[in-house]
Symmetry: C2
Amino acid sequence: MGETGTDKALREGSSVKRAAIIAAARDLFVHQGVDRVSMDAVAAQAGVSKRTVYDYFGDKRRLFLAILADASDSLNASARDALDKHLPETAEIATVPQLEEALTAVAVELGTTIVGSADYAAAFALVAQQRLQTPATEDDVVTAPVENALAERFARWAAAGLLDAVDPQLATAHFGALTLLLAYNAQPNPASADPARVRQIMIDGVHAFMRAYGAR
Amino acid sequence: MGETGTDKALREGSSVKRAAIIAAARDLFVHQGVDRVSMDAVAAQAGVSKRTVYDYFGDKRRLFLAILADASDSLNASARDALDKHLPETAEIATVPQLEEALTAVAVELGTTIVGSADYAAAFALVAQQRLQTPATEDDVVTAPVENALAERFARWAAAGLLDAVDPQLATAHFGALTLLLAYNAQPNPASADPARVRQIMIDGVHAFMRAYGAR
DNA sequence: TACCAGCTGCACTGCACGGTGTAGTGTCGC
DNA sequence: GCGACACTACACCGTGCAGTGCAGCTGGTA
């Protein structure tokens, strides 16, 4: 399941044009909905002929899937960056306050990069749009890797006596709900978030999480 | 802002037909997306002629808004019911465990009726679909009344020393995130939720909430 | 009986969009 | 000069859909 077969006769083309088309389509799709955006509009926004769009991506559905894959990739990449940056394997976290500080740093960074950035918020919006439609939408944005990485760390801290979490998976879900989920949902419309507001939600969310799960 | 003006020349008609059209349109819209559902399909599903749909609602947009208003009303009604049932003004809640029990009852009921019921889940799905589209979407599903009612109760319990909540609004937001938001988001697709799963999420969510906000 | 409103069924218009085919232009390597 | 290629501009087809107009059926009412 690694490669989604580029079935036939798709042109490789330059990566800059490809990126331009994806960016244009993403922005238009997010703000107007996939169905209301014509391929002509995508081509115009990308500064490319409509024919080129079809030569590159085949049809509208495959263009959409390409957007999802692209967003999913960069989302996971930046999430992993944030984790490695603020919660490295070598982190010396020995007290609950240290843990809260580190988690807050992670949450704020994730919040500003994910919720605050149109690129990633777009992915969620698009999935939310298509989720209900044609049931054959198994092509989702994969959040699992990040969640698993977090759950693994939670389990380690629980073992170390820093967290009072019987079920690390559940703790991870609650962490996400109190931070990213809440922040994303609190925005009137994604891709235009108020950074300060997001930041405050993150801080409050981590604080509540630590009150619930921090060892006493 | 009370009445959205039924501009002109709309027929009142029988409430059963009206309800049938709304139900049919809601289901189709939720499962296929507003743009992909034709008015012919709505009429057929409702067992009504297309002409009648137009005579009743004017156009597709107003039909959509009627669905939102309808869902918003019944959602708030059943939410208020759940609150009055499990957290009446006359409730004798004096201990933290009693509070957790009552909150769990409320959350489970809200979860099964809202997340578990297609009617209300549909509203959120539709709003999610339209939220990004044409920015002039001020016609939202109003959750504010319920949230305020909850926040008010939280404030009272905080004053009574049962909750350790400096900011009742924030506590309400966290309560919602840990329960409804998480449950709604954990469903692969709304309107087909697993009741047992929803129930468990609610129980766990309230438990975590009480660990974070319950007085020690 | 005549009238009238609610409703159906259907034909019809106008339009927008997905997708294709193709002629023509610029560019690179030989 | 020549072929191969990437790309554009544009015309074009088929289709699906929002919305309208209308003829006709039905049941209730005076």
